[in-house]
Symmetry: C2
Subunit: 366 residues, 2 copies
DNA sequence: CATTTTCGCTGAAATCTCTTCATAAATCTA
DNA sequence: TAGATTTATGAAGAGATTTCAGCGAAAATG
């Protein structure tokens, strides 16, 4: 084994393939071939290369590789937020699947801002990601999604119901909402309300609302009252109080996601209403917390991790031009979980047209 | 405005700077100068370049740029899991901060596996990330962390207490654990237990345990009983039953994180014990759910988002060679939140040396 | 008025790291 | 010795930045 006058290799500047070639007294091409096992090399040369690699702690630069192969082994993942465990779980699933396949995940949280969303997508495309898994605010109008389609980058939607010709892993929001109405009806509720983030920030909420309306129609209920709120609403209890003042007959509220449902329950409590005695609440998503709170949350249960996994698999299939993974039947992509937050309509509220208790809380939400 | 015979630019192959130069009838250098505002250009040329850029929908390839500038505007972020909201929130903070600064975040979840951890770090270094924010399983022995130090890549630990010469944003686990003991003592508890994931997967848990032991010592309590469990434990109620059989005098359990604490409460219930009547439980982290469950969780409250933000700021400062951001006083990096899961020792259990109720549950954890 | 200086603009060429392709050199067979 | 193998190598190319030298034209100088 030959030794070189090693004066402490500067590790700050990692060794390049040229350095290795110089040390091994051969051409860079040879180094490449030896290390990638992509062509012949004499035992002697091979050994010298390997020794040089070890000594210099050489590792290929992925950047150089990417430039030449125009492939980055990197996937862009765009979701609204990690504060909602639904997305956190989904991202976990996405990341796991890609990791196993040797891809890294570039994560962006848009905070429900479609401006951030399209900007982020542009940046990710400039970084040459090999694919996308994304939850956009509105699949039909998303500027970012359109440019992904134009460039024909492999991608799959997550949670967004797929527009035509698009791949997507999502819950069947429409059917799920129908189911929620049925559950309310089962409990004798007649006057329902729907609570959601502003629809422009989430097409899922809109789908659920439309399903909810149709469900009410099918069950011959009146059109549900609607309360749309901003993402950063701090005074939900006030909005709810106003809402119930305008719609005093409402006995059941369907919140478009569990976080919102839990916040609703707390806010209702803050304005002196009991759940489920005065008002029943049903959520959407089935986050684990829902089972641990009191009253437990009646909700649609979904499997975000599985969805993330599926979306990632789909993207991998598109990349590898292999067969797309089978999706679960959309009709059965969810379950309804009963919980203490939804109970039969009490006798006293059955004929009742107005809610009595309205003690204004002097505590401020923080 | 001149027009070119555009036969449908193939958007699948994005335009390069060369294409732009050809269309603008100038050299690539000029295009670069115009677009980066990095040198002079006549008004005429500038206009032609801009027109070509628009027509071709040109965007710089970050890969080409990275190769030349040896900077990627990408940060590696390594955490154990997103299933724990503590990490999800922290990552959200990290991602937000870097996004504002124009960096993208490459996320890896290790699932508490130090093998995955060091492998991931190697890959990220090969991808030439400009910095790291990471929570390693053990800051002292982490192979990955060591190689980051060797290569002198800007980085900052998150949640891990910093070894010497390391930057880190973390809760003062030791002090927090002392505080927990004080709170138990305040409630007359004398025999305590500690529940944690296997220490090799989390040095945080170990720090908390050591603080807990010292707290017991200072308060002249006996050494706390220890129950270490695997990450994927499914039968916690059985382990707990055995644990309490061996340590029948234990009236208070400190769980090393909130998720574990909540699971503990459920498991205790499953084996017929009431919380807090039979056993008090205190958690660590202060996840939001803790306030919504029944009984509410007594716990150490931290601010993961803020920690993530701080760690990201620190990395940015190192990269920009600017002043490091001020950290909050470690002594005040947490708060104790009272909750229903911790109550004064009942008279009946005060002298009691054994727990009576031990109905074995016939339900299996799933 | 002729000549030099200056200065704004410009494009060719080198560089960054890696892979592939074609070619050259060395070895072995017939 | 010609031809077929086996090895080894240089050069080109992937997309961008940057240095450097050149080219005019205008200004300054003698």
């Amino acid at each position: 084994m030959e030794t070189f006058p090693l004066g402490g290799w500067n590790l700050r500047q990692p060794a390049t393939i040229k350095d290795v070639a110089r040390h091994a007294k051969c051409g860079v091409a040879t180094v490449s071939r030896v290390l990638n096992n992509t062509g012949p090399a004499s035992a002697d040369t091979r050994e010298r290369v390997l020794a040089a690699v070890k000594e210099l702690q050489f590792e290929f630069s992925e950047v150089g590789r990417s430039l030449q192969s125009s492939t980055t082994r990197t996937i862009g993942c765009v979701v609204p937020s990690l504060a909602n465990p639904v997305y956190a779980d989904a991202v976990q699933g996405v990341q796991e699947t890609f990791h196993e396949a040797g891809y890294q995940t570039l994560l962006v949280c848009t905070n429900y801002d479609s401006e951030v969303e399209s900007q982020a997508i542009r940046t990710l495309m400039a970084k040459q990601v090999d694919g996308f898994v994304l939850t956009v605010s509105d699949a039909l109008s998303s500027q970012g999604l359109r440019s992904i389609q134009n460039r024909e980058v492999p991608h799959c939607l997550l949670f967004n119901t797929a527009p035509r010709d698009e791949q997507s892993w999502a819950v069947d929001d429409h059917s799920a909402a129908l189911r929620v109405v049925d559950e309310f009806v089962e409990m004798d509720h007649v006057h329902l309300g729907f609570l959601a983030l502003k629809f422009k920030t989430s097409d899922r909420a809109r789908q659920r609302y439309e399903g909810f309306i149709e469900g009410c129609f099918r069950n011959k209920l009146e059109r549900p009252a609607l309360l749309e709120i901003e993402e950063d609403t701090q005074d939900l209890h006030i909005l709810l109080a106003d809402f119930l003042k305008e719609n005093p007959s409402v006995t059941g509220i369907f919140a478009s996601n569990d976080i919102l449902a839990l916040a609703t329950i707390r806010s209702l409590r803050a304005i002196g209403l009991r759940v489920p005695n005065d008002i029943s609440v049903v959520g959407f998503d089935g986050i684990q917390v829902g089972e641990m709170v009191d009253p437990s949350l009646a909700t649609i249960v979904t499997d975000p991790r599985m969805l993330g996994h599926g979306a990632a698999q789909t993207v991998l299939s598109v990349i590898n031009k292999s067969e797309l993974p089978a999706q679960p039947d959309p009709e059965f992509s969810f379950n309804f979980r009963h919980g203490g937050s939804l109970s039969p309509l009490t006798a006293e509220r059955k004929g009742d047209e107005k809610i009595t208790a309205f003690s204004t809380p002097n505590q401020t939400a923080q």
